[in-house]
């Protein structure tokens, strides 16, 4: 995949915007996923993911082809999300939207879930509980947990994405896991 990406980047540098479209296609799900897990709001996540790619396009000449493109791209995405989280009001998540629903928040979701088969409800509720637990994490733990367990990246790569020492990443993964354990132990 990296090889195709490197070729496309060369084309983008020559001014070919369609080649950039292929790069977006390759990474859109991963980038959107990072943004959604970090922000827990579909519109906010889509907006942040779009901004990630636009920023990548504008700054493509600063990308070092000797390094992994995904690392560079995910760094843009996580930085954008962290910026947005810091600008948010702390009670924001109470109205956060639930995945796969149109204009519903956690409260209305509970009410409408009554119409679904029991098993589906349990599944949905568990997913929401898990996402809520991830979202409850302070942003510095949330980013490492999302990158490690949802994007399934190595600790070394996470350190490069977040531009942190490896030791710091390890500590944050440990603390993030402990916090999540406390939120989810009784589920």
């Amino acid at each position: 995949m990296e090889l195709i990406v490197q070729r496309r980047i060369k084309q983008v540098l020559k001014g070919d915007q369609n080649a950039f479209g292929e790069i977006v296609e390759l990474y859109k799900d991963k980038v959107y996923q990072i943004c959604y897990r970090m922000l827990w709001d579909r519109y906010e996540a889509e907006d942040a993911a779009q901004e990630t790619f636009i920023k990548a396009f504008i700054n493509i000449h600063t990308y070092d082809p000797g390094k992994k493109f995904a690392t560079w791209l995910y760094r843009i995405a996580t930085n954008l999300c962290i910026d947005r989280i810091r600008k948010k009001k702390p009670d924001y998540h109470l109205d956060a939207e639930v995945a796969g629903t149109e204009g519903l928040n956690m409260y209305s979701q509970v009410a409408s879930a009554e119409k679904l088969p029991e098993e589906a409800v349990e599944n949905l509720e568990l997913k929401e509980t898990i996402q809520a637990a991830i979202f409850k994490l302070p942003e510095k733990y949330r980013s490492v947990i999302v990158l490690k367990y949802i994007e399934e990246l190595q600790l070394q790569e996470i350190a490069e994405i977040l531009e942190l020492p490896l030791g710091t990443v390890k500590t944050r993964v440990h603390r993030g896991r402990e916090a999540l354990r406390k939120y989810l132990r009784n589920v």
């Binding site: 977006v24 296609e25 897990r37 889509e46 898990i130 991830i134």
Partner: protein, 202 residues
């Protein structure tokens, strides 16, 4: 909580990151078998990880790529403009001429060596492609330098514009007006020219 917790919990996390050597692994295993507290803790951690990993993989919304492409800056237009200017150098020269004329200092713009051009003033010195305002000298009026540099050691009572060049300001140098550097941004320059012209004719 048992006093064993802290050290053992550290081992658990290092185990989960795949960092334990075999001696440490044996130590952790033996402890978990003998201590209910730690065993419970370890199981909770494993369950937590399984939960987080089960979070379904999401897909970007429909039309995502199209929306990104539509939002990209219209680079193509700028490139088109630059190409067009390269093909019509006379027009660009005429535009510059027009600015200088409308700026009211047409008569001062006389000196030109190939592409290197600048507004002529009495006190200016020229070294290769660098225009120098010597220390202690005072230039009244605006200065435009094209395809060259400017070094300001004295004082300019007016604006300084450098097109495709650089300006160096000595610590004693002083410019009362604005200093602008225009590089390659011909699109922007044309915008500026139009604005200047509009301002004059209004």
């Amino acid at each position: 909580m048992a006093s064993c917790q802290k050290e053992i919990v550290r081992l658990m996390h290092r185990y989960l990151d795949g960092e334990l050597v075999s001696g440490e692994k044996r130590k952790l295993k033996a402890h978990l078998e003998s201590c209910d507290n730690c065993q419970q803790h370890f199981l909770e951690l494993k369950k937590t990880i399984a939960f987080v990993q089960s979070a379904s993989h999401l897909q970007a919304p429909e039309g995502f790529t199209e929306n990104v492409l539509l939002s990209l800056p219209k680079e193509v237009k700028t490139i088109g403009m630059q190409r067009w200017i390269r093909k019509h150098p006379f027009f660009v020269a005429a535009s510059l001429f027009l600015t200088l004329m409308t700026g009211g200092f047409f008569s001062l713009w006389q000196q030109e060596t190939e592409n290197f051009a600048f507004t002529k003033h009495e006190n200016l010195q020229v070294e290769n492609d660098t225009v120098i305002i010597p220390a202690g000298e005072k230039v009244k009026g605006d200065i435009v330098v094209e395809n060259g540099n400017i070094r300001i050691e004295g004082e300019v009572q007016g604006n300084v514009t450098v097109i495709n060049g650089e300006q160096y300001m000595a610590s004693a140098g002083n410019v009362t007006g604005d200093i602008e550097e225009i590089d390659e941004a011909f699109g922007w320059m044309w915008f500026k020219l139009k604005k200047t012209a509009a301002g004059v004719f209004d």
